[in-house]
């Protein structure tokens, strides 16, 4: 329950929530509340309510995701803008206030830019991520190089291979892996689990740090980890494939 409440709170985009509350309160206080404001606020709240409760509606479980709730955040920004403008009007009256506003704005802008690029910088700067990324690309290249499409079943286009709740792109090779991007990067697709029920085996199996014998598969590559053998990738290919 506390996780749910935390997620909902984060879904309301806390950095601007203060401005939003300030904007709504001052608007009511100054008697400038318009019918349209009620509509806008209602639309925002309805959206957030539905976004927060959709998992519960479908699965009876109290859970949600922040990104579903962030979609409607722009709807409350006009109120937040009024709040921010009101606070700025208060602060600009004094010299100290202006300095504070300038510093706060600079901090907000810096935080925003940092937050915006954080996944990118992490991807590029974290040695672990960079290493795993390189390893993934290397694995995908190795699969791509060793893959020759079998002439009889290059693609999985039959309607038997389609399910309404899971997309499969029809492409091969089918790569069974926890690194879900390797399949796409190698030119094929990640092995859809429902193929097991249809007796379609994966073309490749990729595992990390847990090399073992898979019956019917031969190991075609192993990439030793550069960082003290922490990460080792094993690639297995199904026997009988060209």
């Amino acid at each position: 329950m506390s996780d749910f409440v935390t997620t909902v709170f984060r879904g309301l985009y806390p950095p601007f929530l203060f401005f939003f509350v300030w904007g709504v309160v001052t608007k009511i206080w100054e008697r400038k509340w318009h019918k349209f404001d009620t509509l806008l606020l209602a639309a925002f709240l309805i959206f957030e309510l539905l976004a927060a409760s959709q998992v519960w509606l479908f699965y009876g479980e109290l859970s949600t995701s922040k990104r579903y709730m962030w979609i409607a955040v722009p709807l409350y920004l006009p109120f937040a803008a009024r709040g921010a403008l009101g606070i700025w009007s208060l602060l600009k009256k004094s010299y100290k206030g202006r300095i504070f506003a300038f510093l706060a704005t600079a901090a907000l802008v810096a935080t925003t830019v940092h937050n915006f690029y954080m996944p990118v910088t992490k991807e590029q700067s974290s040695s672990k991520r960079r290493y795993l990324r390189r390893l993934s690309l290397k694995t995908a290249t190795a699969i791509h190089k060793t893959w020759t499409p079998p002439p009889d079943a290059a693609r999985l286009t039959d309607l038997r291979y389609m399910r309404c709740d899971q997309y499969q792109s029809g492409k091969r090779p089918l790569v069974q892996t926890d690194w879900l991007r390797v399949g796409y990067l190698s030119g094929g697709q990640t092995y859809p689990e429902f193929f097991r029920d249809l007796n379609i085996p994966p073309d490749y199996i990729v595992v990390m740090n847990n090399g073992k014998n898979f019956p019917g598969y031969i190991r075609i590559a192993m990439f030793p980890g550069d960082s003290g053998g922490k990460y080792v990738v094993y690639i297995y290919k199904r026997k009988g494939l060209p």
């Binding site: 985009y13 950095p15 601007f16 401005f19 318009h34 349209f36 509509l39 806008l40 209602a42 639309a43 309805i46 959206f47 539905l50 976004a51 959709q54 998992v55 479908f58 699965y59 479980e61 995701s65 922040k66 990104r67 579903y68 962030w70 979609i71 409607a72 955040v73 722009p74 709807l75 920004l77 006009p78 937040a80 803008a81 009024r82 921010a84 403008l85 802008v109 935080t111 830019v113 937050n115 915006f116 690029y117 990118v120 991807e123 990324r133 286009t157 309607l159 389609m162 399910r163 309404c164 709740d165 899971q166 997309y167 792109s169 029809g170 879900l180 991007r181 796409y184 697709q189 990640t190």
Partner: protein, 536 residues
């Protein structure tokens, strides 16, 4: 004849000539029945000084001041108290000799005119003010009628309340000064001319009026004029564009201030159109490096959207669509792949970025319509500040499209609220609903709720549901390819397979709706995806 002199003020002492202004008025050889200062909550000594000089002071809240409506209220009030003439002065206009006001008032009443303005001089010969005033304030007095347009163009309705006198009764009869923060004098003069009246210029009534030459103030003044011309295109249409000042040899001295003021004018006249584009460009500047550097696809993108986009570009329709994934974003990405030959992942990122950045426009125009320019700018600035939302732009996931759909719905609501008689709002609403339904299946509930609100509003406003029906039909028309696809694939005309499951339950409960069910779907409709799949 009862004459009132009125000066609207705001921190007049800071301009440096407040005492000179009051002293010069005190030296005038004319009987003034009322000397009024309307002060917008000055924080300096403006009011105490005015009181010492024997002026009547009215204080108003700063935010309540408006160049048009405040003056209009004053004129109405004076009319009610039996005044014939009102003279408006600016807080930085110093009358140059003791007979200036008398000459102005005499000119007003000796001619068949409603209002007249006096000559304004600049202290500095080589200043921008001096140069521009050569044309506006010639050395001879004259009256102006509508027939003078061909000769004087925009100078025909030109008038300056910095130093002007008006006959109170005709002004009140014409409705007074309109609501505006700049150019209320010209707007009233235009009204007078169009009603067949005249306005005058008295070259013998002279005052010194200096505008600040600081670059920022020049820019602001240019901006105000530009904005005024943009807000009142009817003035330019009727009277023509502003004429260029006379050529002068000393142009070199004033070239820089002129350039700054012109830049301000340009900004003021186009800023409302330019501002959202500036934000749009700023967003792309922020997004492009991230789109290029974030080259490792997310799970959803690698497993679904990117392959779908590539299939769409290749015309491989079987894999370009799927009942699990609503088609808008993969289609948009597919078009990008087709045009630019990018890979599916890059195309998905670009599609998300396009939708998010385009969201600036409905947000800005909607906000501007409802709350004005300033709030609109702040709102869009905060929108750009939503860094977590803009990550959608380079992740390549569908939420970017969903944000655009919500913002388009907001724009449509503002349009319907302010201009319900035009079709733009209804069409915007149709497209917004269609986008919401084709970008994420779980937005269907929100789309339904907003449609119900719209229908309710329409019924109350128009007393008949014709517009609602029109909107519903158009939305269904836009969605029909998707509905037909899912009818063929999973057996129900829905936007996404989960809605199919709901519809199956509804059809079971209400057998009369069984006609909605395709008995021979190409894929079996399962029992819904697992909770784990939902977390993807």
């Amino acid at each position: 004849m009862k004459i009132a002199l009125v000066i609207p003020t705001l921190n007049a002492v800071k301009r440096g000539v407040w005492k000179e202004v009051l002293t010069a008025v005190g030296q005038q050889g004319i009987q003034l029945d009322a000397k009024i200062v309307v002060d917008s909550s000055s924080t300096d000594q403006t009011v105490p000084i005015a009181e010492v000089y024997g002026w009547q002071v009215f204080r108003i809240k700063r935010q309540n001041f408006n160049h048009g409506t405040t003056r209009a209220k004053i004129v109405r009030c004076l009319h009610w108290r039996g005044y014939d003439t009102v003279i408006f002065l600016s807080q930085d206009v110093v009358l140059s000799f003791p007979g200036a006001l008398k000459k102005l008032v005499d000119y007003l009443w000796s001619n068949d005119i409603v209002g007249c303005y006096g000559k304004q001089l600049s202290m500095h010969e080589h200043s921008l003010d001096a140069w521009q005033r050569e044309r506006c304030y010639p050395n001879f007095s004259h009256t102006k009628k509508l027939r003078d347009v061909s000769r004087l163009q925009l100078l025909t309705p030109f008038c300056s309340n910095a130093f002007a006198a008006w006959k109170v009764a005709p002004v009140v009869k014409l409705g007074g000064f309109p609501k505006t923060m700049f150019g209320e004098d010209m707007l009233l003069a235009s009204k007078i001319l169009n009603s067949g009246g005249s306005i005058g210029y008295c070259a013998n009534a002279i005052a010194v009026h200096e505008h600040s030459c600081m670059p920022w103030n020049l820019f602001l003044r240019g901006k105000a004029i530009g904005y005024f011309h943009r807000e009142h295109p009817e003035l330019l249409e009727q009277f023509g564009k502003p004429a260029a000042p006379f050529k002068r040899k000393d142009f070199i001295y004033i070239a820089l201030p002129f350039a700054i003021k012109s830049f301000g004018y340009l900004y003021g006249s186009v800023r409302e159109k330019v501002v959202p584009w500036l934000f749009f460009l700023l967003l792309w500047v922020l997004l492009l490096p991230a789109i290029i550097l974030y080259d490792f696809p997310l799970r959803d993108v690698a497993d679904r959207y990117a392959p779908m986009a590539e299939a769409f570009a290749a015309g491989d329709w079987q894999f370009a669509f799927h009942p699990r994934v609503t088609p808008l974003m993969p289609m948009l990405a597919g078009i990008i792949v087709r045009i630019f030959s990018f890979d599916g992942h890059l195309a998905c990122k670009l599609a998300g970025a396009v939708m998010l950045t385009c969201g600036v426009f409905p947000l800005y125009w909607g906000c501007k319509r409802m709350y004005g320019f300033v709030i609109a700018v702040w709102t869009v600035a905060l929108y750009i500040g939503c860094s977590y939302i803009f990550r959608f732009g380079y992740y390549g996931i569908r939420e970017g499209g969903a944000v655009f759909g919500v913002l388009l719905l907001f724009w449509a609501a503002t349009k319907l609220c302010r201009h319900p008689e035009t079709w733009g709002g209804y069409l915007g609403f149709v497209f917004a609903e269609a986008i919401l339904l084709t970008v994420r299946g779980d937005l269907a509930l929100f789309a339904a709720v907003t449609f119900v609100i719209f229908a309710f509003w329409d019924l109350i406003r128009h007393r008949h549901p014709l517009r609602t029906l029109g909107v519903a039909v158009l939305t269904l028309l836009l969605l029909s390819p998707l509905l037909a696809y899912n009818y063929r694939m999973i057996g129900y005309p829905v936007a996404e397979f989960r809605q199919g499951i709901v519809m199956r339950a509804v059809c079971k409960r209400f057998p009369k709706l069984a006609f909605l069910n395709n008995p021979k779907p190409l894929i079996k409709l399962g029992n819904g995806m697992s909770r784990e799949d939902f977390d993807e």
